[in-house]
Symmetry: C2
Subunit: 332 residues, 2 copies
Amino acid sequence: MPTSRQWLLNGHPRGRGIEDGDFVLAEKEVSAPGDGEILLKTLYLGFDPAQKGWMENIADYVAPMAIGDVMRGSGISEVVESRHPGFAAGDLIMGSTGWTEWHVSDGTGLVKIDTALPPTAMLSVLGTTGVTAYCGLFKVARPVAGDTVLVSGAAGATGSVVGQLAKIAGCRVVGIAGGEDKCRWLVDEAGYDAAIDYKAGDVRRQIRDHCPGGVDVIFDNVGGAILNDMLGEIATGARIAICGGISRYETGSLPAGPQNYFNLVFRRGTMAGFIVLDWAAEFPAIRKRLEGFVQDGRLTYREDVQQGFENAPATLKRLFSGQNRGKQLLQL
Amino acid sequence: MPTSRQWLLNGHPRGRGIEDGDFVLAEKEVSAPGDGEILLKTLYLGFDPAQKGWMENIADYVAPMAIGDVMRGSGISEVVESRHPGFAAGDLIMGSTGWTEWHVSDGTGLVKIDTALPPTAMLSVLGTTGVTAYCGLFKVARPVAGDTVLVSGAAGATGSVVGQLAKIAGCRVVGIAGGEDKCRWLVDEAGYDAAIDYKAGDVRRQIRDHCPGGVDVIFDNVGGAILNDMLGEIATGARIAICGGISRYETGSLPAGPQNYFNLVFRRGTMAGFIVLDWAAEFPAIRKRLEGFVQDGRLTYREDVQQGFENAPATLKRLFSGQNRGKQLLQL
């Protein structure tokens, strides 16, 4: 049996950013798969800002992570040996593999990859990322045709899908991202109607310029000052879906709350958070729908594929420095 | 025709509390009612925190108030002379009379008072106050039996009705108010299950003690630090109705936003603002329902009746110092 390298959690990054010392590299001899088990070789890992929240354990909506645990994360693996009737050698699966090169599983929670798209799509546009965009937009924010939809973190893996889905739904879509490069991509490639570069300053004024009738729907991935600016420009009856708060993850503590929450009263607005796992039963159907949009040419996606298992911690940190272009992946 | 004293707006209290100089007393000779008009003598004025917002003109959800305008406010008047087919001398009406002793009206927006309760009920439990409690609770927050409902500003005119309606709906109800006196009234008279005195400190811990399973429904009248503490203790699927922000009115500027808004994500919560006027078409039916609850003995209410037209500005200021006990009224 192979020896597997593993990244173990070695620190809780509470009140601060992720540091190299939060992980430690270990080696483990993998045991042979028993009856009903499969041996999996990790091919790709997927990265998500929520992983910092898991490391922090500040909330209890997922099982806590303890020091010494294999770092939790989703990945794509190949079945190398199967003693499980549901899997055969050569099958590709997507699951919460963790940061390990090899592992043995009883198949619980694994999804066999069966898509006409490249398999990495199961970590990006068809993965939690894409499904989060779909559920947050269509189950929480519920835009109607003609709405002006404003997306923060718009060039990110989730945000770019949100904007394109809103376009398919007949909305006008404006995205907020950091830097000219990302903004150009939003308009030229992802089909956004307009992009706001928050690094160019005065986000509130830029929102007003691009959304003169007010913002009907907000899909927020960042929180902090940008959420506050967005709430300042909502239209009557606005719906706000809170998906993430990368500004929270960056600082490692809670940023100031949005003062403009009181606009929810003046504008009769509704702001809701969600956890995409609540719709897990619908994921297969939602994936089919997203796959169809990609095949029709109405939905494009980007993947940022780094290389080498040893680079897993550095790859996670890319999310918090805004370096990634599209869904952050690592090929082993 | 009589000469009428009137309080005119003389300053916009933006970024500060209300000051005496924000009003100026004037006199005006009232013209005789023309065809289709009525002459009204004001008997009572009703006071509401929203009046400071009107004076500030920081939002545009009601028509702006200009310097020199008669101060806007609701009141109860007696018809002294009528040249309108819909009104007779001696009728009592409720309407947006403004801070004036006498005025002439064409009847627009006036509601004839027809209740088995004392007429002042039309400014309190059957007025905008009671209807706001009803709509915010049953149309926005939508509690179900068994929910734990937490109300801030609970001893106020709106808050005390909210808690009692939630009890009628089978909920467990906890109120937050300032001082032992108000807290005792909540439990002994208004039927709250428990009361939290924010002046006794550590509101968050007190909420946790009284709502050990988390808070399912929040009805917020105050905003600021108390809203933040309440959001820190929400249960999964919590619904938060934002009714007011008296802490905003007090300071005259926007207080810090609630950092704990991100709990909306962890707990899949929904926070919504509302303007009760959106349900104006239903007010008569809602008033009948509230009146029935009072007559059944299931809903009690308090009125704090000050005396004398010259005291109108001082009476408004009572709302922001927490002096009022129940709905703040002024008898002329």
